[in-house]
């Protein structure tokens, strides 16, 4: 087996549910359905679906850090916000010509990742773990929220970009693809849908390969028993830091896509409610698997949206109840439990086999 086929063989493995032709045929059918969906819908609804999709990157990143690595970060929204604001500041100052919005996307994600690298260095090399990791990361996102909330005055601007306090920053250009016959502006519509769907497929498959690689093996080993992992010669702090940075970059990607989608970002995107929601999505779906995280996030977001019609406070209460039920009835996640139930008749293999 050469290196390349070994690389793609890692699309399946002990760290991911779903293997064999049955799963991949199902995957292709769902993907084909997702590709065809805009043909049967209107631009507004498709744009709304993109809004759902933008959150999934953050959820997948949290699944990696928490579900696979065992470190509960309560502050993924910090990276979401940093990247969102960075995208706004860059594009408001430099415009959207020559495909600059995509360069701004990369820069904004890189800034979030760099911030995570600094924060993560102190956390993991300082051996902060468990509930303290959650407390520190939550504090960081709340501090950022407070800070951005007091930037209403005209003195708070970077170049042409007013930070604008609690009212938020707006009117940054959406993602724009340079094109010979005139740039294609990706307003929340069908074109943006395909771009984000493509990113989603790439990220999902890339993460599957990552978690089934030797790196992913060490990651779950750290979750199971950090002492033993270190006593096999692994510098676990580096693995934890690397994972944290990847997860933060994905949260940053969500932040950029969200900001360019609505041309708008506010400090409350880093607030308490915003910080708690990714944890609900990931826990309810099943944090220890990428697929259940993805399906769970879409499901919970859809339920949330349906409920919001009756008032957003009401929807938040239902979120809380869903979280409590998950913890009590299916600690590994509702979608996860469902997937196991469906898979049982087809397979006699034990959970976690190689």
């Amino acid at each position: 087996m050469n290196a390349l086929s070994r690389f793609f063989a890692r699309l399946e493995g002990p760290q991911t549910l779903g293997r064999g032709p049955g799963f991949w045929i199902g995957f292709l059918i769902v993907l084909a359905g997702a590709c065809a969906y805009p043909l049967f819908s209107d631009g507004y609804t498709v744009g709304n679906t993109v809004y759902f999709f933008t959150w999934i990157f953050m959820a997948l990143g949290l699944s990696l850090i928490w579900g696979y690595g065992g470190a509960l970060s309560f502050g993924q929204t910090a990276f979401f916000g940093i990247a969102g604001y960075a995208y706004g500041i860059l594009t408001i100052n430099f415009g959207a010509a020559y495909g600059f919005t995509f360069i701004a996307l990369l820069f904004a994600v890189a800034i979030a990742a760099l911030f995570a690298a600094l924060l993560g260095y102190f956390l993991f090399f300082g051996r902060i773990s468990g509930v303290f990791l959650g407390i520190v990361t939550l504090s960081v996102t709340l501090v950022l929220e407070r800070f951005m909330a007091q930037t209403a005055g005209p003195e708070w601007k970077i170049g042409a970009a007013r930070l604008n306090g609690f009212n938020g920053m707006s009117n940054m250009p959406p993602l724009t693809v340079p094109w010979p016959g005139g740039d294609i502006v990706l307003f929340p519509d069908v074109q943006l849908y395909y771009v984000v769907l493509g990113m989603l497929v790439l990220v999902y498959l890339g993460l599957r390969i990552l978690v089934n690689s030797p790196f992913g093996n060490v990651l779950v080993a750290i979750r199971e028993n950090p002492e033993r992992a270190e006593m096999l010669g692994y510098d676990i702090r580096k693995y934890q830091l690397g994972t944290f940075v990847i997860g933060a970059a994905l949260a940053g990607l969500s932040g950029v896509l969200y900001t360019s989608w609505g041309q708008y970002i506010t400090p409350s995107s880093m607030g308490m409610t915003a910080a708690a929601l990714p944890i609900v999505w990931v826990a309810v779906g099943g944090r220890s698997d990428l697929t259940t995280t993805l399906v769970g996030t879409i499901t919970v977001l859809a339920v949330f949206q349906a409920l919001t019609i009756h008032g957003s406070q009401y929807a938040l209460v239902v979120m809380g109840i869903m979280l409590v039920l998950t913890v009590l009835l299916a600690p590994r996640g509702l979608i996860y439990a469902l997937a196991r139930l469906i898979a049982r008749p087809f397979s006699k293999r034990q959970p976690g086999d190689a």
Binding site: P14, N217, A221, R228, A229, L232, G233, Y234, Q350, A354
Partner: protein, 251 residues
């Protein structure tokens, strides 16, 4: 040059002097057993050697190099590995994956699967390779962790109570394995209560008592030592119910 040397090693937990001026020397190629009543400080000495605890004072030399301030993973990479007293396996992962995590950087990917199969067969775990490690019997867990430690191909293998919970046959088989590894050049330091095992494998025995080196010598010298018998007798009255499922020493 000795494989391992501790020089005036001390460890205090608050007022508790758990490791008291320990000088221990392991020659390369020997099997050395560490015995002593419960609470003597044997596991703590292991943790000092591994770098999980830093000593209050003293130094540790490994192959002549001062490793006193190295991190645990750096010490492992220099060629030591450990089986802990309480099996430290990855419970929610399969047996096979446990070994894969230990071995993945020690073999090229093309032969890794084969090497895992070999080790599974050697450990008598082939039929259990897809089971979750947490569902194994206690003895099998011990074997799995010994296998993980051995798979790193260390120069120095540390075994903390490797046969606890094993039947006499399993204990004997473990002893034979230690002798085979030793014949291939591996130096072994083992904490053990089972005197039949100690007699089977040990070339040198060190008795630890209240954190101090109490006696040292061949197994026959140690067994003949009346002071050693006395501290064990003292323990059976004082700590009869201590966490010691395997029962005290069979001396």
């Amino acid at each position: 040059m000795p494989m391992l040397q501790t020089l005036g090693l001390n460890k205090r937990f608050g007022g508790l002097h758990v490791t008291n001026n320990v000088d221990l020397t392991l020659q390369a190629g020997e099997v050395h057993c560490l015995i002593g009543p419960n609470g003597a400080g044997k596991s703590t000495l292991f943790r000092l050697i591994l770098g999980e605890h830093l000593p209050s004072s003293g130094a540790i030399l490994f192959g002549g190099e001062d490793i006193t301030s190295l991190k645990p993973f750096q010490r492992i990479r220099r060629g030591m590995s450990v089986k802990f007293q309480v099996p430290g396996i990855f419970k929610a992962l399969s047996v096979r994956q446990n070994l894969e995590i230990a071995m993945q950087h020690h073999y090229p990917p093309a032969v890794l699967g084969e090497e895992i199969d070999k080790l599974l067969a050697f450990l008598n775990l082939t039929a259990d390779s897809t089971r979750l490690a947490g569902n194994l019997s206690h003895g099998q867990k011990q074997w799995l962790e010994i296998g993980m430690a051995v798979s790193l191909k260390p120069r120095l293998l540390l075994l903390d109570e490797p046969t606890a919970g094993m039947s006499p046959e399993e204990t004997h088989a473990t002893g034979e394995m230690v002798k085979r590894l030793n014949a291939q050049g591996m130096t072994v330091l083992a904490v053990e209560h089972d005197m039949a095992f100690v007699r089977q494998v040990a070339q040198q025995v060190t008795v630890l008592h209240l954190g101090k080196v109490f006696a040292q010598g061949s197994i026959d010298e140690i067994v003949a030592n009346e002071d050693v018998a006395a501290i064990y007798l003292g323990q059976t009255t004082a700590h009869e119910t201590a966490h010691e499922p395997a029962g005290g020493p069979h001396a």
